[in-house]
């Protein structure tokens, strides 16, 4: 066997292995969660409240909690990221853009727990005193910090997409007398929208999957949050809190329902990105 064929086999093996891990993960969760699929239990777990005292182990409050925290995070991160990446691409290219970009790249490397820690000691008291309601551990606090956490990744995605818009388009617009703002709104953002949507979808995946921020800042109350200042529990935080309970208990089994839900969400996001990429020019 020549070298090339050996290399081919090795790479194929690596690809098959990593792909099968992804599939096996799902199989593993479904097998361990199998008792949940009998007699409509899975549906009940998805729709019921969490009241262990009354033997009700539904994760509906956690689904709502996850969606609330993640949507707020995206609502914070999206305008912020679009603004910063526009600044890098149009408003202040050159040294300032370079500086901002390095700062953003550095931010992506800060461990999540640092954000959580700062949130506990700075943002939580601020939110509690400002709104004079609740403990400050709430959807709002977690959403704000999570937004800041995912923003750097989103900014890098957006700036790459904006930078890939052909220079000739930009030059043509400028030759027609367009101001930098007009270039941004009518040429760059439309040209880069696929990259922008990709960044948005992947960042949403990250916001939904993040555990530590929700665990440290959202309060973890197993209730459907009635507002931004209510304590809420995310699916990920629920897994972290319940994993220590008895293996054979039903509450432990709900972990698999949460895992399957998170897996399904990530899979859907990935498929959406793929579809988008296939439609037009290569996105990544």
């Amino acid at each position: 066997m020549d070298g090339e064929r050996i290399a081919q086999k090795v790479f194929l093996l690596a690809a098959v292995l990593s792909a099968s891990v992804t599939v096996l993960l799902l199989v593993f969760m479904v097998i361990l969660g199998l008792p949940l699929f009998q007699g409509g239990l899975f549906l009940r777990i998805l729709t019921h409240p969490w009241l262990p005292g009354r033997q009700l182990f539904g994760v509906w409050p956690m689904i709502v909690g996850t969606l609330a925290i993640a949507s707020l995070a995206m609502a914070v991160a999206f305008p912020l990221s679009l603004g910063v990446s526009s600044l890098i691409a149009v408003v202040a290219p050159g040294r300032i853009a370079h500086l901002v970009k390095s700062a953003v790249a550095f931010m992506t490397g800060i461990p999540t727990v640092v954000y959580g820690f700062v949130g506990v000691f700075l943002l939580v008291p601020l939110v509690r005193e400002t709104f004079a309601r609740g403990s400050g551990l709430c959807v709002l606090t977690a959403g704000l910090v999570l937004g800041i956490l995912v923003a750097p990744t989103m900014i890098l995605f957006f700036s790459d997409a904006l930078a890939r818009v052909p220079g000739s388009h930009r030059v043509a617009a400028e030759a027609l007398g367009a101001t930098p703002a007009q270039v941004l709104v009518y040429v760059l953002i439309p040209g880069a929208w696929r990259g922008i949507v990709t960044g948005l979808v992947l960042s949403t995946g990250r916001a939904v999957g993040d555990t530590l921020i929700a665990l440290m800042l959202a309060g973890n109350a197993a209730q459907v949050p009635g507002g931004l200042l209510d304590s809420a529990r995310a699916l990920t935080a629920h897994i972290a809190l319940v994993i220590a309970s008895d293996f054979d208990s039903l509450e432990f089994k709900t972990i698999f329902a949460c895992g399957i839900l998170l897996y399904a969400f990530t899979a859907a996001a990935t498929i959406a990105v793929r579809r988008l990429g296939r439609k037009g020019e290569p996105v990544r």
Partner: protein, 277 residues
Amino acid sequence: MKMGLWFKAAAVVVMMGLAALPASADPLAAFNGQKGEIRISGGTAHIPVMEEAAKQIRTANPDVQISIAGGGSGVGIKQAGEGLVDIGNSGRKPTDEEVAKYGLKVFRWALDGVGAVVHPDNPVQSLSKDQLKQVYAGAIDNWKVLGGQDKAINLYTRDEASGTRDVFWKRALDKGDIHAKANVVPSNGAMKTAVANDPYAIGYVSVGHIDVTVAPVALDGVVPTNETVKSGAYPVSRGLYSLTKGEPGRLAKAFIDYLFSSTGQQIIVDKGFIPGN
């Protein structure tokens, strides 16, 4: 006379040395020449004692590595039972079922109370049991009702694997409801931080963890302290347990023996617990 004085001085020195020997040298001697790792996890109330003991053992013998993780009593029982750790800690007595299923050996080395705590600035530092139960059930939701400020009460509780929660729920709340709006924190340390940072909070921690950052709440007029827990006047108490799967290995046994030695007992006292079984 002078000789006599010197003799007395020498005798005192020798006696002091002898007295000190069994206390300091003996329990650590079991680690001499040993090498290896002791893995510990579980109850978060135990952690300060575990860390101090580990520090002293490491100083005496750097070849012995000791890793300490939290997770709660449920984790301690489960991981010890499955052989994932050498010693699992629990703040509740493992059930007969758990002992039989895993073949656990149970070492109880301290008595500990679980007390309700509030922020030190909170004027409400005494509640009847009935009031406490109503607060946790959500029936009383404003400090004004209890004589405090006109502010909503922020409830804090622990996750379901917590031994501290188990004891508090059974003995202080008589298995009453804990409202779903209660914030959930994952350890005794996190509870203390949360309550210390929230002027309108009420939570509960192991009495050994109560310090100036939080204020204990008297229950039916009895303040949770080591003295009241020891005398039995304060009823919400439990043992602190370390568990091993079957007979402990040599290093794990040396560690547990160290906890029961006079130095170990002193560490337990210093960290705010009541030693003994």
